[in-house]
């Protein structure tokens, strides 16, 4: 019996060790080796951000394919093939930061961000210390850019715009204009920053504001927070959320018998799962997005937004979401800056990024002194007949706002 116990425990420990090793992967090639330019990307392929992490990796992969189809990256008279060394950070900020260190040890100085603000924030500190340079594809929390870092640049609009853009769209388009807005938010840095931005915009637009009421990040039951705003019978409920909480809000607004004219949510509605999980109940819900295929602007690698959508569809079998697009845009910004710098030296690339001003399929990419992309507007979508239709800003609108957004 004892040998059997021993055997099984050894096998178990061995399996655990293998799993742990698997997530770190093997050592990749070092940066400027020969004719290849290798970027480092820690991506969340397992763990709680696995879904968004996979979409991010798809965006990076398409970028590599497109750049190499054009020959590669032209650096000071040489043309280098683009490659990305991927490592799984298991959705954990600590691991994401360690992986940036590992890339540095391998001589990889040019880094593409992991998924989400928590991971990116942890990485940014290490990037600064190691004199690497990172283009952030999805860390939108304004906090990342309030620390005086000089080497992290984000292609996406900051968190404070996420809920604010929905408020602005409603103030612009809804008629008769709603008068009261209740804010709900997940209890994490990014979501709270987004909710605070929304509250400020709502007050500026003259709405009566309730909240934000907080619930734990990842909650699948948000009834307590809804319960608290139920008394004020708000015209509009805006949730600063991720997918799980976003789905819960729509379900439980109905369960609890609230009758808002509209529900708006950051992050969740544009993702395909939102409609597949909620079915018809998703109809009418408003959401903000970093990018949709209605965004104007084009570049030499990806063409315009609808060409990008078609390419993602061809390569990965689903419509392009903004997670894909922001990742491809981050990779593109890093490539363009490297070409402009004429060198793969991280400091030269950093300076080129700081001066970058290009129009892409993702919209305009130009960074302010803190590294945020403040030139690009967020777009607002509404789920209509199971599809995300861009309704704001007006010059990019694919359709008009259905108002009141929710049937009853």
């Amino acid at each position: 019996m004892n040998t059997r116990v021993l055997f099984v425990s050894v096998v178990t420990v061995g399996a655990l060790a293998l799993t742990a090793c698997g997530s770190k992967g093997e050592a990749g090639p070092s940066a400027g080796s020969g004719d290849t330019l290798t970027l480092g990307a820690s991506v969340s392929l397992t763990g709680k951000l696995a879904r968004e992490g996979t979409l991010t990796q798809e965006g990076y992969k398409l970028c590599v394919e497109k750049v190499n189809a054009k020959g590669g990256v032209k650096v000071g008279g040489k043309t280098l093939k683009l490659a990305v060394s991927y490592q799984d950070d298991t959705s954990k900020p600590d691991t994401a930061a360690q992986l940036v260190d590992q890339f540095n040890d391998q001589g990889i100085k040019l880094i593409l961000g992991s998924y989400g603000s928590a991971n990116t924030e942890a990485q940014a500190a290490v990037i600064e210390r190691n004199n690497q340079v990172m283009v952030d594809s999805s860390g939108a929390d304004d906090k990342i850019f309030a620390k005086g870092y000089k080497r992290t640049f984000a292609v996406l609009s900051p968190a404070s715009e996420y809920a604010a853009s929905i408020v602005k769209a409603l103030a612009d388009l809804a008629s008769p204009k709603p008068t009261s807005v209740a804010f709900l938010s997940a209890d994490d840095g990014f979501s709270k920053t987004a909710a605070d931005g929304g509250v400020a915009a709502a007050k500026a637009a003259g709405f009566t504001v309730t909240g934000p009421e907080l619930f734990p990040n990842g909650a699948t039951d948000v009834s307590s927070a809804l319960n608290k705003v139920k008394g004020s019978a708000p015209d509009v409920i805006i949730g600063s959320v991720h997918l799980a909480e976003g789905v819960a809000i729509v379900k439980q607004v109905k369960e609890l018998g609230l009758k808002p004219k509209a529900i708006g949510e950051t992050v969740a509605p544009p993702t395909p799962d939102f409609v597949t999980t909620l079915g018809a109940a998703a109809d009418g819900v408003l959401g903000s997005s970093q990018w949709t295929k209605a965004v104007s602007g084009k570049d030499d690698y990806f063409g315009d937004a609808s060409a990008y959508d078609a390419d993602i569809q061809k390569a990965f079998g689903h419509a392009a979401g903004y997670h894909n697009a922001e990742a491809s845009a981050a990779c593109l910004a890093l490539v363009l800056a490297t070409e402009k710098a004429g060198s793969t030296d991280p400091t030269a690339v950093r300076d080129a990024l700081a001066a970058l001003d290009v129009t892409t399929f993702f919209g305009r990419v130009k960074f302010d002194a803190t590294g945020k992309n403040v030139t690009k507007p967020m777009v607002v979508i509404q789920i209509q007949g199971g599809k995300a239709v861009t309704v704001w800003p007006k010059d990019m609108a694919e359709g008009s706002l259905v108002w009141p957004a929710l049937g009853s």
């Binding site: 099984v8 139920k230 369960e255």
Partner: protein, 294 residues
């Protein structure tokens, strides 16, 4: 006041569902002294089975849950008989390690098979609700709650009235004596584990109907099961029901009076308080204190 009552109603309904999640975990711990860290993965797997039969065959979740229960029972039986049984007499650390490994395998397996996308089982009725004295009662959650209570009562009846149930209890109390009476302990253990997994599968289908899930939800269910099982008293099925309701209430009222992530800490605070004043759980004597290890 209505807000308070609404929170109470929601908490009780949610608590019943949590009890169904935890009752199998508690049974396995009580009878076999195995802390099954893969329990949450069984719950999520049950949700996927319910989703698949709903999408492919159009089965309502209340029928689909039986498919999930049977599938998970079979899986649980096999896993116990051929894997966990190898170490069931080993130190608790070894069974912890083994079930932890199983959890990793199952969760990552589901990641590969079903992707990490969030899913939900759609029905026409689960999202509707009716009002009782100003308090909204959601239909889906009410049905899931009723099911939990019925299943728990039925389980207790099976344990106390049937030969299978009594051999499970007997093996849990004194394995040596049970063997001398002609009970095959290996088979009984596998049955117990299978029943626990089957119940987890049912609970998973219900969770899929009222909420959302993805493979990463597994850990959360294991943790809640742990708290509820300890609260209720290990192996005590009515205890699991009481523990589940208490946790559901605490979370709902915590969310109503406090803000944000504090709610998560409250469940454990309650655990500490209950263990300080009633060390063997809410409902009577802990089952395993009657155990004789031979």
């Amino acid at each position: 006041m209505t807000g308070f009552l609404q929170a109470v109603a929601y908490g009780l309904l949610q608590g019943g569902l949590l009890a169904l999640v935890a009752v199998g975990f508690s049974l396995v711990w009580g009878v076999m002294n195995v802390v099954n860290l893969s329990h949450g993965a069984f719950v999520v797997l049950g949700a996927y089975v319910g989703l698949l039969v709903n999408q492919r065959l159009g089965l309502d979740p209340f029928l689909g849950m039986f498919v999930a229960a049977v599938a998970l029972f079979a899986l649980g039986y096999v896993v116990q008989r051929f894997v966990i049984n190898l170490v069931v007499n080993g130190p608790i650390f070894i069974t912890l390690l083994l079930t932890f490994g199983l959890e990793l395998l199952l969760t990552q397996g589901m990641n590969i098979a079903f992707t990490a996308n969030y899913q939900g089982i759609q029905t026409t009725y689960a999202g509707t609700s009716f009002a009782v004295a100003g308090v909204q009662i959601p239909v889906g959650r009410l049905l899931a709650f009723v099911l939990s209570v019925v299943v728990t009562v039925a389980l207790v009846a099976v344990m106390n009235r049937t030969r299978v149930g009594m051999s499970i209890m007997a093996t849990g109390m004194d394995r040596g004596a049970a063997r001398l009476m002609g009970i095959r302990a290996r088979h009984v253990y596998a049955l117990t584990f299978g029943i626990a997994a089957g119940l987890a599968g049912m609970a998973g289908t219900m969770i899929g109907m009222v909420g959302t899930f993805n493979p990463a939800s597994a850990g959360g269910f294991t943790l809640l099961s742990f708290v509820i099982a300890v609260l209720g008293g290990l192996g005590n099925m009515y205890g699991a029901l009481a523990g589940g309701m208490l946790i559901g209430l605490v979370q709902a009222l915590g969310g109503y009076f406090l803000s944000g992530t504090w709610v998560n800490a409250l469940a454990f605070l309650v655990l500490i308080l209950v263990l300080m004043f009633r060390p063997s759980g809410l409902v009577g004597k802990a089952f395993y204190s009657a155990r004789l290890e031979v």
